[in-house]
Amino acid sequence: MSHPSEDSVRQEIRAWLTENWDPQLPLIQWRKRLIASGWGCPAWPADCYGRGLSPGLAAVAEEEMRRIGAVGVAQFGVRLLAAATLLEHGTDAQKNLLPRILTGEDTWCQLFSEPSSGSDLAGLSTRAVADGESWIVNGQKVWTTSAQHADYAMLLARTDWDLPKHQGLSYFVLNMRQPGVVVRPLRQMNGHASFNEVFLTDVRVSSDMLVGKHGEGWKVALTTLAHERRLAETMRNWGRMEHGQGRIYDDLQAEHAIAMEPYKWYPQRAGRVDLLMNRAVDSGRVRDPLVRQEIAKALMLERASEWTAQRARAARALGQSPGPEGSLGKLAASHIARAAALAHSAIGGADSMLSGHDAPENGLIAEILISVPACSIAGGTDEIQRNIIAERVLGLPREPGGDAKIPYREIRRNTFDKQ
């Protein structure tokens, strides 16, 4: 068999789409067809719902799909992380879960963070104890997006209390539809409830749902976390959804609405720098030099951030490894959000005390003011980002770890989760 080329891939998928693409199909039915053909995930292995194409050729296939408005596999939200993790670490039985992830029939969530383990994820204390052919899980998880309608979860739990913290963890696929799993929405300071708390009481996981080896949960979790960073990038493209006439697009829209619901305040979280100049000019507040200072600080940071991202992309395009400019985006986003909130508050003046219909832009500005704190916490706090930059980019030594080498049992923990 000859190696596929750009032309052969283009011809092949065009022929397949001509034969199979039908916008009048129900969404799930179409995706089943797509997944069976391997064109849904062309970069995946040929024996695992893909076609084994290089990323470059897979992009050609995706381009052909987009060109005719053909809908792809489900990729909104946490299911993307589950798929990537199972693809890399899952057993054949576990990989049988992949098709329903890709069709969008199953929703997934991630049971990692705990009330006592935020930045220190490896210090988590939810326990899984072997009991015959299954594991029994007890503990509490938090910041779980989509838990309220999830079918499955990626679960990180402690299976050994006598080993150092990273070595005593195991990774499981948990069926969320069972007794003992209680999901409670977690209301945030801005009134939205994008996340949940999940309480696990004597929940059972069958032994064949252990992902990777016993005690290698941290390694598997790193795969999930690496893709979480990619997820943050793809989120920017979520506005770009295939549009068209036909049953399939209606289904897609409904799916999109559910998946996007938790993220509807995210633009406000980032500070809405885009609104600053219009507000300042329309309200006349731009005539105040103090207000101008605050606006300029936010706008200049935003521009420099964009130029820095472009520098990193240009370096990658030339085959150079990006310098430090590639590691700064997350920390920069926090600064921009804070600076933008300061500027919005300055523009609003006393109106910045109001919210809802009484407030500027029908409450949108108020939502910015009380959403930006999430930026410097979610997905790694600013402090953790600074540690990473200082250690990986500047080469400063790690903090002498007080807890990385001693048995987990002996580590000092928050008093409320001592067991």
Partner: protein, 383 residues
Amino acid sequence: MQFAFTDEQHQYREAVSRFCRERSPPSLVRSQMSSETGFDRELWEQLCTNLGLSGIQVPEAMGGQGFGAVELGIAMEEMGRVNFCGPYFASSVLSTGALLNGATEAQQREYLPQLCSGTRIAALALAEPGGNWDPAVIRATAVQNNGHWQIDGCKSYVLDGHIADLFIVAARRPGSEGLDGISLFLLPADTPGLSVTALESLDGTRRLARVQLRGTQANLLGVSDEAASGLARTLDEASVALAAEMVGGAQALLDSAVAYAKTRVQFGRVIGSFQAIKHKCADMLLDIEFARSAAYRAAELAACDSDELRDAASVAKALASDAFMHAATETLQIHGGIGFTWDNDTQIYYKRARSSSVLLGTATEHRDRYVLQLAARRAGEAG
């Protein structure tokens, strides 16, 4: 290519960097800081003739190298790394820019080769007591008498005025206001009626002078009354070059802070393992990388004569001023007591940061100017 340097530009940077490291070590900078003239003429001539740095952005026909603002930025950044002492910014950037943007071709052909070869040093006399580089607030006046121009006024904060052979002076037609009626003039330093007083500068690597003109005769550069726009462009280009220089200085500071934090031991640990120190370093890096991106982008815009230059120049100058001052403050702090001593090199950069962050307008002034420009453009679009 946008947002990236070519291989030739990388090689060029390496050549300038090597010259600066080898020929302008801290010991030399230190001695120049307290010397009478503040620079080493032999080193200056090497910079001009061997490397051709003094005419990077000048067309080859005028004695220059025929490169542009990007290469100028590279040279400034590398000179900033070592606090190079010499009239480069005064003569090769500000004065050369004023000639390129405001003189007639004949005048350019006469004077640019002299500046490029380094045989004559020029200074731009623009700001006045009060210290504002906005051409709109110039008070010095120029009148024509019997075909001769005569200038009255006082110029201050004139960079390297104490060693200049030529002065380029901005003055206005009596009664004119704002950006109207501004003209540029050129006069030799020994012109009767011109007196130059060296000022004591806080930053010994950046010398300033006051220039008094009392009915002093001068030659008109370019077209009378119409110098303002060329001068504005010169200042924008110079702000971008200065931003690059500040980025170089800030990076040198961060490098020294990190190196020190990796070796200095307190409480049985190198201090770089404390988060209090790590976080300062990470914050410096973020500021510097943002300032660098702005300086590089602004240089690209200057090189292609873009009308976005004015905005970008303010972004670059404001971010670089803040990043440099921040890096100087934190690097000194990380060094602790030793950082406050005369013998530690941090003080050289600290003083340079103090002067550079004010020269050509503070960050606050550039932020203000930036938003006013955006607002004016919006009003223009709406109207």
